[in-house]
């Protein structure tokens, strides 16, 4: 990238230009960032399996994405929102039966072996399709991967598979691992799952359980200008308040994934040398959803669901629970997915009086104690915000005469109660939108999911019309037609409210201002950090 040169005379022209020029100088500094240094980052969990080809989850990606790369990464300005990584070009066939990837030449694994199309074929057929939690869905119809030469991989599908889906899923489900490490072994038990060997800008150096993961610079990275850093250390800090204090003390330089509690952000943003960044999570949007058990006769009544939607003040939720670091949701697809998003859906304005009215008319009259009926409400324990919203929802429901009893549980008990035992009336869940509605969104409302599938439609909602659209979209190869189907999907979901989307949020990164090139792609925290640098 070229930096416009500024002549001395232009500089003299005035303070406004002077200001602009310092901004440019700052930008120039970021581009030509100094090489070297150790970046220390807060990590709040230690995944037991670090292989992103098997476990596609943010906790794993956070560390592993620096070592093992996908075929393409999300990008703010790339074509279709993608930037090339191990693949340099991708093309879907018109019949939806194949996708051709051109692979990068001259890439070597960290152990010195060359990277070829055989690695991609092996990863796809032996890991992504049969083993990966999300790839099992995306690559369900993958039949074979042809490798006509070392740098071409052709994916062949048994049924037409929308290229749009494959493309959108690339950053999440296509982490490539080395065939020579996993071939012929019990993949689940292979030590390569934790001693990562990849093609990325950083090599896996050391893991001290309970203390840290250390990654060191890959001298032979295919992008000769990267990485900028010598080392990244992920320091295990389980306590959130301590992560903020460690940043203040300059013992760590960066905390991603809202490792610092929202309530501390205001104070920290005023500390000299610390910046609070909300960019860089656009492709990992979390959704705050009220899950509804349709087996409960009151909740099977659309009027009751509408009344509940009218009882929730989304603005209050965004401002008070998320302290402004979120947006009100309109439906099952977040605004951060402009490819699919439509605002042309039914709206339920905050109006408790109307909600009461609806319930009265529907025949759910208030008893002597002012309550119409009782519900069991289970807020998911994963985030402070989901629990706080549970408390809020209880009060909002009380205002319309519904008595909700909150049942708190830890993660394992919550999952079993909601998704296996269906022992709930309402639940608060935080599903993630992963770039395409087919990956983890349609499953929330599609009928016929077997018991025990986490983050799925376990409320027993059945809507043949909606099921038909979901099925049609999954087979529609034409991108425009498929996008259109998902618009219709949003309208149907919001009209019939199988669940209620309340808010959508990304995480917050807090960093010392010495860390350069932070949040420069829509899933930055889980990308490779090749251009991240430290100002000396």
């Amino acid at each position: 990238m070229t930096v416009p040169s500024i002549s001395r005379r232009t500089l003299m022209k005035g303070t406004a230009l002077l200001l602009a020029s310092t901004a440019l100088a700052r930008q120039a500094l970021a581009q030509a960032a100094p090489a070297g240094g150790r970046l220390i980052v807060a990590a709040d969990s230690e995944p037991k399996n670090l292989n992103p080809a098997i476990v596609a989850s943010n906790g794993v990606f956070f560390i592993a994405s620096k070592v093992i790369e996908p075929l393409a990464e999300a990008s703010f300005d790339g074509k279709d929102g993608l930037a090339p990584r191990l693949a340099t070009a991708w093309e879907g066939s018109a019949d939806g039966l194949s996708v051709t990837f051109k692979l990068r030449d001259g890439v070597t694994w960290h152990d010195g072996q060359p990277f070829t199309s055989l690695d991609v074929a092996f990863s796809a057929l032996n890991i992504w399709k049969p083993l990966q939690n999300l790839g099992r869905l995306v690559f369900a119809n993958l039949e074979a991967v042809d490798t006509p030469d070392d740098y071409t991989a052709i994916f062949r599908f048994s049924k037409p598979t929308p290229f749009q889906l494959i493309r959108n899923a690339l950053p999440v489900v296509t982490s490539v691992v080395a065939k020579h490490i996993f071939d012929g072994s019990d993949i689940a038990a292979n030590p390569g799952n934790n001693k990562l060997v990849g093609t990325g800008p950083f090599k896996f150096a050391e893991y001290k359980p309970g203390e840290y993961y250390r990654l060191t610079r890959n001298e032979n990275y295919w992008d000769k200008d990267q990485p900028k850093l010598d080392e990244i250390v992920f320091r295990v800090l389980p306590d959130r308040a301590s992560a903020g204090a460690a940043l203040e003390a300059d013992e760590i330089q960066l905390a991603a994934f809202s490792a610092v509690p929202l309530a501390d952000l205001d104070r920290l943003s005023k500390v000299d040398g610390i910046k609070v960044i909300s960019k860089g999570y656009e492709a990992l949007t979390y959704q705050l959803v009220v899950e509804i058990n349709h087996r409960r006769k009151e909740l099977a009544d659309l009027r009751v669901r509408q009344a509940i939607a009218h009882a929730i003040d989304k603005k209050f939720v965004v401002d008070t629970i998320f302290l402004g670091y979120a947006a009100a949701a309109t439906g099952p697809v977040p605004k951060n997915a402009p490819e699919f998003y439509t605002s042309d859906v039914a709206a339920y304005d905050f109006n408790p009086a109307a909600a009461n009215d609806i319930l009265d008319k529907a025949g759910y009259t208030k008893g002597a104690d002012g309550n119409r009926f009782k519900l069991k409400l289970r807020p998911a324990p994963y985030f402070n915000e989901t629990r706080q919203f549970g408390d809020y929802l209880r009060q909002a429901l009380a205002a319309i005469g519904i008595d909700a009893e909150i049942v708190n549980a830890d993660a394992a008990a919550h999952l079993k109660a909601v998704y296996t035992d269906h022992d709930f009336d309402l639940a608060v869940g935080p599903p993630v939108f992963r770039g395409d509605p087919a990956i983890s969104t349609t499953i929330l409302v599609q009928s016929g999911t077997p018991d025990g599938v986490p983050f799925s439609n376990q409320g027993g909602y059945v809507n043949p019309e909606l099921d038909k659209i979901i099925k049609q979209a999954s087979e529609t190869v034409d991108t425009a037609a498929r996008t259109d189907l998902y618009r219709k999907f949003q309208q149907l979901v919001v009209a019939d409210l199988p669940l209620i989307n309340v808010a959508e949020w990304g995480f917050i990164t807090v960093a010392r201002d010495t860390v350069l090139n932070v949040s420069d792609n829509p899933r930055w925290a889980v990308s490779n950090w090749g251009d991240t640098a430290l100002r000396s």
Binding site: I40, S45, E46, P47, K48, N49, V55, A56, S57, N58, G59, V60, N133, L134, R136, L137, A188, N194, E206, K208, P209, G210, E211, Y212, R214, V233, R235, V236, L237, P238, D239, A241, S242, A245, A246, E248, A249, E251, Y382, A409, D410, A411, A412, A413, H414, L415, K416, A417, T420, V432, S440, T449, P450, D451, G452, V453, P454, F455, S456
Partner: protein, 329 residues
């Protein structure tokens, strides 16, 4: 010495049924908790389908019956094999061996500090009951005892790490420093100052109060009266006659507190990011990792039994009557 070994052997044998009861009780307690290791794992990785869930359950052996799993666990335990941790995918024995030293270091230092300083201050307070010094110490100890340990930990780290930058904020040693020998020991000590202080302060207050109360009782006994009548100096009476006898309940409490401290260290280990036993226990519970949690509880039980044995030995040294009755029985 020979008596101590005999005592040790008898204790070890009599402890076995206790440990077996602990294991079986914990097993069924965990069994009664809703959700299992697969639920916890799928939640942490953001979901998966029903077939994946089934496959995981089979590979963890969770598809077998409760009794079959208990039998499997007990029989591997009989071979001194603590089993395989589901949440960490590593042997339980190795995990415990890695984490236990950090916690023992933390607890040991905190116990020594709280016992030493607590009993010394207790003597100071109890030497002149009712004096201004006694009141100040008593009120001060009450306040400290009422403070929650996580709060104390946070306040200490904000004051001494964030503001003053005297001590490191977290961890057990400087990460990837490559230090060895004496400089490493120094490094670890610097890291331990704040967590040990936070953990010790609470127990220090407790020891102070027990010591002071014990002294108050001994003062009234005849032999102290006799010592005073003999015209012995006050400091000699306080140290040789009163404090020595008031120390006995403190030693008893030392044994009891060792178990409580193991629990208290969970919080301190989290706040100061120390990879210890307490945090491991917390992670085992969150991951519904039955083998790991059983291993931890079993090890804790052995630790408590061992500490109590040591306490008994000390007790016997302090008060010969007790040792005689144990040995003669």
């Amino acid at each position: 010495m020979k008596r101590a070994i005999l005592l040790l052997r008898r204790r070890a044998i009599s402890s076995l049924p206790v440990l077996l009861i602990v294991v079986i009780f914990t097993f069924f307690l965990l069994e009664s908790a809703s959700g299992d290791a697969v639920d916890a794992y799928l939640g942490s990785i953001g979901g998966g389908d029903a077939a994946l869930k089934q496959a995981l359950r089979e590979s963890y052996g969770l598809d077998r019956s409760t009794l079959a799993r208990l039998w499997l666990y007990l029989s591997s335990l009989a071979r001194l094999d603590l089993g395989w941790s589901v949440a960490f995918d590593r042997p339980v024995g190795v995990l415990i061996a890695e984490r236990l030293p950090n916690t023992l270091l933390l607890m040991g230092s905190a116990t020594a500090l709280s016992f030493g300083v607590g009993s010394a201050l207790g003597i100071l307070a109890g030497a002149r009951p009712g004096s201004v010094r006694d009141r100040l110490l008593s009120i001060g100890s009450l306040i400290v005892y009422a403070i929650p340990s996580f709060w104390l930990g946070l306040v200490l780290s904000i004051a001494f790490s964030v503001k003053l930058r005297w001590f490191p904020i977290a961890g057990i040693e400087t990460i990837a420093s490559g230090k060895t020998g004496f400089s490493r020991a120094l490094d670890i000590s610097a890291h331990l100052v704040l967590p040990v202080s936070a953990l010790a302060l609470i127990y220090l207050a407790l020891f102070l109060r027990v010591m002071r109360a014990g002294m108050g009782q001994v003062w009234k006994l005849d032999f102290v009266l006799f010592a005073r009548a003999k015209g012995l100096s006050r400091s000699r009476i306080v140290l040789r006659h009163v404090a020595r006898n008031a120390l006995l309940p403190l030693v008893t409490m030392l044994g009891l507190q060792s178990a409580a401290m193991l629990g208290g260290s969970v919080v301190i280990e989290s706040v100061f990011a120390i990879p210890g036993f307490g945090r491991l226990a917390q992670e085992a519970v969150n991951g519904r990792d039955a083998p790991l949690l059983m291993g931890i509880i079993l090890t804790s039980a052995v630790l408590v039994i061992a500490v109590n044995f040591l306490v008994d030995l000390v007790y016997a040294g302090l008060d010969p009557r007790i040792g005689a009755s144990e040995g003669g029985a």
